[in-house]
Symmetry: C2
Subunit: 412 residues, 2 copies
């Protein structure tokens, strides 16, 4: 029998206890022995919970109990969770987590600490909720050189964008609905500003390319400026707006970004709707492999945590060898050095003069017209150097017949 | 350094040698040591191959070489491959294969033999080519009770159906094109009659439900009777015809089948085109997780074989514990005992009399009309007991204004 402790009895933490209880029979069969929750650490009381008698407020009861071999960290953040994780690993306990912030921030140090103490630090649940993605990249695609990742990694923003597009709700109404349905937190900043997607693409990239990709260096734009009119223009272009996270490995470093993108409707990720996530991994032998499913939620995420626990129980003699090298210098490339193309909307006083100025500055564009919005100038650019394009587009304001920039959205 | 031998230098076998050579740097990093091909067994000569000097015609050179720790079996079939696999496992060598026929037929015996000799028998490449699916089911979803699997598991038939639908080619022309492009074999029976899909759903089901599901008991229908006119009717119904393999786990046993199905265009699998495979696995905690990618091809399949090799190298102290129980009695349920609904086309002499007879016999139906085919009677049935429905429909021929049955396709 293997004893585990859970740190943090929130949504995921209580889900882990529930999955271990409800699926005990299957889990015991798969792991080869029983897995039992011995203690749960939380500062709150949960008198009505089925796990009430396991809850303690004293961390020592967990860290000094040598029978507890595996710690589930579902506290979140990089504060106390970081301290507890270091303490657990240093005392020879394996740690399993869903905490993407901690993994993205201190992954290399914690993986090394685990290795030094011959235990494991695992985080399948940190990306894609219950969708298997970390282990497939690490094991199933181990014979591949992974060259790129492209994905919808945040369910909250995908839900909001889906509601906007299909039900004509504007951003703030769609956000409120997401909050009412428990898909967005009271403070939704990390989701809607793209920070959550950014941490996840950093984790997947670090894992895929074998060296830490610092999430703080990844260009990140959220969805707060996306309007219903932008969505109508996208439809006119045969496209759908999605918040995409992506990275590509080059000899010189890693290209990575998070941004809203107008994606052709035929693209595999265009059909990923609601709170679902979709992740495409490109390997030099396998080609594109796509993983799809609910990217969040109590039981899906908890089931990913428990899969990691089972893995540790089955392979307890072996340290997981995954270690990300720390790059010697910054390995995240400046995306402005690459080519891209864009959808642009300008408020204009003289459409003809504005168009002439635009084409003189950035070359030929394709004008897009939308019924009811004939007075503005909307167009898609040709492919060109991103730094040049963005600087030129931001410089349009106040020039020949141009009042201001309304929208600027990346094309794919 | 780990030495491996490859049995059978065909498409997959030579791909394994190529992947081990081309991606050597990544593979060594992931596995923790070099993996080198020591010998290749084949009865043919390959003088121009980069692996020519490794090829032998004498199996003893491989089986009696104690330095060779892992055998890659890419011979195919359940004849000599079966003998070689038993010999390898019994002599303490792990075996990795892409041979679905052998796994579906002798899986439990070979897994047990591997366990007895403390080695591994692994077959990620037997289903879904390079798409990670065996390991995700076995490890990532280990905390779930898996309740169902639904998938497009055969790339050849999916390619043929895609060509028919999008390019208006009839079945035999689309098949010829698939053969020209190397997507179908000279003898395409195993693919087009559904046998290949059947073996794969048997393997996935055995793995997911923990007990052997005998492929010989799975109801299997291929795509040879699907016509372009059926596809036009499907389009009229907002559906697409796909060859689907599926299974569901019930208390009493396993429901499993392979058949052409008219799938709503909105279904996740409806967009899986060409030689791609898509597999949806339903777990009681994770919900639906979908895996998608190229289901066949030299390098994708080879990369899955090599992933298994790396796994064995990393975990060589541990026998993979996966064992399928042999069911005490037949565990495959009779699909005629379940409910289903169907699309039916009848050649008729008196449409009104025919329709009256049909509705008198099987209850209300929804008539479907297609321009140019007004003289025939086409309809979809209500949901009803499959045994009753099929018997009734096959009994229509020669009755009141009905000449014969033209098409009978399952709805989903």
């Amino acid at each position: 029998m293997i004893k585990v402790a859970i740190l943090g009895y929130g949504i995921v933490g209580s889900g882990v206890a529930e999955v271990l209880r409800e699926n005990a029979k299957n889990i015991t069969e798969n792991a080869g022995q029983d897995i039992v929750v011995e203690k749960i650490l939380d500062v709150r009381d949960f008198e009505d919970s089925p796990d009430a008698k396991l809850i303690t407020k004293d961390p020592d009861e967990i860290f000094e109990n040598r029978d507890i071999r595996i710690i589930v960290e579902t506290i979140g953040g990089a504060g106390i969770a970081y301290e507890f994780t270091k303490r657990a690993l240093a005392s020879g306990k394996s740690v399993v987590t869903s905490n993407k912030e901690l993994v993205a921030t201190h992954g290399p140090e914690l993986l090394q600490l685990a290795k030094d103490h011959k235990v494991s630090y695992m985080f399948e649940a940190s990306v894609g909720g219950g969708i298997p993605i970390i282990r497939p990249i690490q094991q199933c695609l181990a014979a591949n050189r992974i060259t790129g990742i492209l994905g919808i990694l945040n369910g909250t923003t995908n839900y909001i964008l889906t509601k906007m597009r299909l039900e004509g709700k504007d951003f703030s109404d769609a956000l409120k609905e997401a909050q009412l349905n428990g898909y967005a937190e009271a403070n939704p900043t990390a989701d809607i500003e793209g920070h959550d997607s950014c941490r996840k693409i950093a984790i997947l990239s670090s894992l895929s390319y074998g060296e830490m990709v610092d999430y703080r260096k990844i260009s990140t734009v959220g969805i707060t400026k996306i309007s219903l009119i932008d969505m109508k223009y996208a439809e006119r272009l045969g496209r759908i707006i999605k918040l995409l996270a992506m990275s590509r490995k080059y000899e010189e470093g890693v290209y990575a970004r998070v941004s809203p993108v107008m994606l052709p409707v035929k693209h595999s990720l265009a059909n990923v709707e609601d709170v679902f996530n979709g992740i495409i991994v490109r390997g030099n032998a396998v080609g594109d492999a796509m993983f799809y499913g609910k990217g969040a939620g109590k039981l899906p995420t908890a089931s990913a945590v428990v899969a990691d626990i089972i893995d540790i129980v089955k392979h307890h003699e072996i340290t997981k060898m995954m270690v990300w090298k720390l790059p010697v210098t910054n390995n995240v490339l400046d995306i402005r050095d690459f080519e891209s193309f864009w959808f642009v909307r300008l408020e204009v006083s003289d459409k003809q003069a504005a168009l002439e100025y635009v084409e003189k500055t950035i070359g030929n564009v394709s004008v897009v017209t939308l019924k009811g919005y004939e007075q503005e100038l909307a167009f898609t650019t040709s492919m060109a150097n991103e730094g040049f394009l963005l600087q030129a587009i931001h410089g349009f304001e106040g020039k020949k017949g141009i009042r201001q920039l309304i929208s600027l959205i990346r094309l794919y």
